[in-house]
């Protein structure tokens, strides 16, 4: 049964009442009817249709190594697929070994990536929050200096995506940035971005969800972005409280709208199964006083830029959050901490967060079975310091993970980074470097620029949102720029001839070599033939091309690899 079928008869169709009284009476009646319908629908698990099957995927299941490196990484770099085969005697052992290795990033040596970061000359990435605040906020610096912590984080995120061997950690850092999404270009958000990325998101990316939730709640950019630093008993501001419930914890799938609390079903533990606006108002009150260090409060630059609790701003009255009573006059901060406890241990939160993780790691419409399994792990480990790692392990080692190829399309960032990884590219990611700035601008134009989504719900993670002509064309334009000639430095940005073994020179051999590098799998004969025809340009595809002596042949090789980056097969993961 589908929810819309039920709701179809439920949609009210009356036209405007003639008086406000009638409007109100009608609205109340409709509210009651809708609540009844919603209860029925939700108890039947129809709130969201996310468990419906995706469109059938093209092609056949690729080798597990390819699937794994496209899901828990931003695509394979040279050597990754071969290394997978060396991890054990069969795919089960290999995947388990890879996942366990990736879930313990400290065990993976990342010296090459570290060296590239060190050589990039970043100046803000090691600053503490108070240093960032002093140097980039309090010091009256130019805009470009003010936002440097953000700009350097954007560049180092690209650098790590391409070069870090701790790929799953990078995937999850990206995931949590999207889950706790903040528009990074705000006046106070940009200068404190290093803190948010390093101390909040990355510090907890594989850790405990409750800890992460509190770190976000108390982080300078979030307190400012969603206004909670201003929220007081006299003037509650519900912006953060609403998004905390709807986007960070319980999720929109557990939002019951504005109906009375008494109409929301209650679970076996006496907790409401979802939230209504009354809960939003209660949580708003519970979080009053969660503010920023400053004296006077309105002059942020007098403070150290850190979280500061103002008990004199706190609404100390009794609150009802999801049916649980927070008594009046609790100890300082306790109301808010209780709220985070309730939310982080709520089955609805487990389901919502796990569904999003499955959507990222498996497919747009992950089977409910794997969502349930992940949510069980989530709830069984609420106190564990590696709760998130355990949840991710459940997802990656599930049968659903292995049986679902091509359930996701790559978003622009994924395509850019996976192209650079496949080509073994070594581009600079440095502020003011002309090549980096050009890449940065082209990345911005794809519509998927890092930390640039304005609303707090994060970039969409569904294929349908990314298949329109805007992101497609602007991403193709970028990947073709990657394989193009850099006239300033008089060289190719990525010298693909140098990346091609000396014995590989015929059109057939070149295409097969690069198909294996870029896709790690075979494609249909007709598609392959079309690419070979492009590479051969009328010549016998078995004869060696003068790649080493003819500049036009090299440029054709560059263009052929660019064609692979544009190909339908490269858009899936």
């Amino acid at each position: 049964m589908r929810r819309h079928r039920l709701r179809r008869t439920d949609v009210d169709t009356r036209e405007a009442p003639t008086s406000a009284h009638q409007a109100r009476a009608a609205a109340l009646e409709r509210t009651y009817q809708r609540a009844t319908a919603m209860r029925t629908a939700r108890s039947a698990g129809e709130r969201s249709r996310l468990s419906t099957p995706p469109p059938a995927s093209p092609g056949t299941q690729p080798p597990l190594a390819v699937q794994a490196w496209n899901r828990l990484a931003f695509g394979p770099a040279p050597g990754d697929l071969a290394a997978f085969d060396g991890l054990g005697p069969d795919d089960d052992v290999r995947l388990t070994a890879l996942v366990d290795q990736q879930l313990d990033p400290g065990s993976i040596s990342d010296t090459a990536c570290d060296a590239k970061i060190a050589a990039s000359g970043y100046t803000t990435l090691n600053k503490s929050l108070s240093q960032l605040w002093a140097d980039h906020v309090v010091a009256d610096v130019e805009w470009s200096d003010r936002i440097r912590p953000l700009v350097e984080t954007i560049f180092v995120t690209l650098l790590r995506g391409v070069h870090s061997r701790r790929q799953l950690f990078e995937v999850l850092a990206d995931f949590w940035h999207n889950h706790f999404s903040i528009y990074g270009w705000g006046f106070y958000e940009a200068p404190t971005w290093v803190h948010y990325d390093r101390d909040v998101i990355r510090a907890n990316a594989l850790g405990n969800f409750r800890t992460l939730l509190e770190a976000v709640a108390k982080s300078t950019p979030m307190l400012i972005y969603l206004d909670n630093y201003l929220s007081s008993d006299d003037g509650p501001n519900e912006n953060y409280a609403r998004e905390l419930m709807e986007l960070h914890a319980l999720g929109d799938e557990n939002y019951y709208g504005t109906i009375p609390r008494s109409q929301v079903p209650v679970d076996g533990n006496g907790l409401q199964v979802g939230f209504v606006d009354e809960d939003v108002f209660a949580v708003t009150r519970a979080l009053t006083g969660w503010s920023l260090d400053a004296d006077p409060w309105w002059d942020l630059e007098t403070g150290n830029g850190g979280y500061y609790y103002r008990h004199d701003w706190h609404d100390t009255g009794e609150k009802n959050v999801l049916g649980q009573i927070l008594p009046a006059g609790q100890a300082p901060e306790k109301d808010g901490l209780d709220v985070l406890d309730i939310l982080a241990s709520h089955p609805g939160t487990a389901k919502f967060v796990c569904r999003k993780l499955c959507r990222r790691l498996i497919g747009d419409f992950p089977p409910e079975t794997v969502v349930d399994a992940a949510a069980q792990t989530f709830l069984a480990n609420t106190a564990a310091s590696d709760q998130i790692a355990r949840v991710v392990r459940t997802i990656l080692l599930s049968s659903e993970f292995r049986s679902s190829w091509a359930a996701k399309i790559k978003r622009p960032f994924d395509i850019i980074v996976s192209s650079l990884r496949a080509a073994n590219a070594d581009l600079p990611f440095i502020e003011d470097h002309p090549e980096s700035e050009s890449l940065d601008w082209r990345f911005y134009q794809t519509g998927h620029y890092s930390f640039a989504w304005h609303p707090p719900n994060g970039y969409p993670d569904f294929a349908e949102a990314w298949v329109s002509s805007g992101p497609r064309v602007m991403t193709w334009r970028l990947t073709n720029w990657l394989v193009d000639y850099n006239w300033t430095d008089d060289e190719y940005r990525i010298d693909l001839r140098a990346e091609t073994p000396a014995g590989v020179r015929s059109a057939n051999a070149l295409v097969d070599y690069w198909l294996d590098r870029v896709l790690g799998r075979t494609i249909s004969d007709s598609d392959r033939t079309r690419i070979v025809e492009f590479m051969a340009q009328g010549h016998n595809p078995d004869l060696d091309l003068p790649l080493d002596t003819d500049d036009d042949v090299q440029s054709r090789l560059q263009s052929m690899v660019g064609l692979l980056f544009m190909s339908p097969e490269f858009q899936w993961r």
């Binding site: 405007a16 409007a23 469109p55 263009s559």
Partner: protein, 446 residues
Amino acid sequence: MCEISRRGFMVGCSAAIAGLAGSRFNSLAFGAPGDQDVLLVVFLRGGMDGLNLMPPIAGADRGYYEAARPDLQVPVSGQGAALPLNSQFGWSPDASPLLDLYQNGSLSLVVATGMDEPNRSHFESMEFMETGTPGVAHTPTGWLTRHLQSSVEIPEEVIMPSLSMGDLQPTSLRGDRETVNINDPSTFSLDTGPWLWRGPQRAAVRSLYQADSTLVHVTGNQALDAVDIIELYATGEYTPSNGAVYPDSDFGDHLQVIAQMIKLDLGLQVATLDLGGWDTHEGQSWVLSSLLADLSSGLMALYTDLDGGGAQNFTQKLTLVVQSEFGRRFAENADNGTDHGHGNLMMVLSGNAAGGIHGAWPGLAPGQLFEGYDLAVTTDYRRVLSEILIRRLGNNKLGLVFPGYTGYQPLGVVSGTDLTPDYKGGPGSTIFADGFESGDTSAWSG
């Protein structure tokens, strides 16, 4: 012989198409009598504060308004005073260009619109509104998609039936496989990569995408069509007509591109664009002021640009609707802002607008507010859109565009011919039989 059709029209036709570059498609029926308007949907993301765009200036409601908004109120006199709209309502001086359009009868206002859904979530509200299925999330097609699918057959020679300006295609056009989605036509081009092989590479990539009909293939072809269209027709300089001056903003740039496309006669039927930033939980005064200025000067520029004489009178073929996911809380908060509310203003700008104020005003007395907090909703937003569909776009298939919606009566927002609404969903309803539900990939290729 090369046929020009919308899908894949470049194949084998490049010389013929190239010969048409920059010229108008005068053979199209755009200017002919009886054909349909261009529908332009402007979505104000974040929840626009309609109560401060069109504040009450008299009566009991003024008293409630001043009490609820001691710091944020638009005054009735002195600096920043509301401009008089009628005896009951004023108009924000930050949006004065729209008042000019209202006074010349080109702008209709509909008060207290919205959804019955008791919902103050941005994301669910936008999803519901733009899918046209309040209460049902993740509907696989947007309401504009279903309008395009259910309206009179679009002629084969139409080059670009729908356009969405911005980074991503909006939910209202979700699932539409012909929309051109662009942000900036000047960079929307496959003009990178080793130059010697750009042509052959493009032919090769086209053939790869034509080889199958999965979502990625179909939309890849759509993207290739889009880049062909923009490269061939829309990369040239554009000079607005009639002295129109667009604001120097993304919104102004996007409106200007839409004007250009309308004049190019590519057969445009539907266009969308967004203006975001209306979620004014704090420091609302300054933000709202600059957003209203951007909105109103932009719409004025568009209208002026399109409002020429004779064949250049494109405003007779334009219906523009402005909507937002909800209004804002009646009472201001302590941070010079407003939280999420309910009922809100919709605006319809057209050479065929009736002008005036429409819809039942629910009042601002405590007992009249939705749940005691917000302006109530007295007019379903679908009623306004349905009137445009029927009277301006000739599409009476409300059952397909807004499934479950019945009882339509026109408000009289625009002029046009009334048709009997067809509420049937029936076969072909993309909501109830589609690839999302059946898992059938063939549905993606349509």
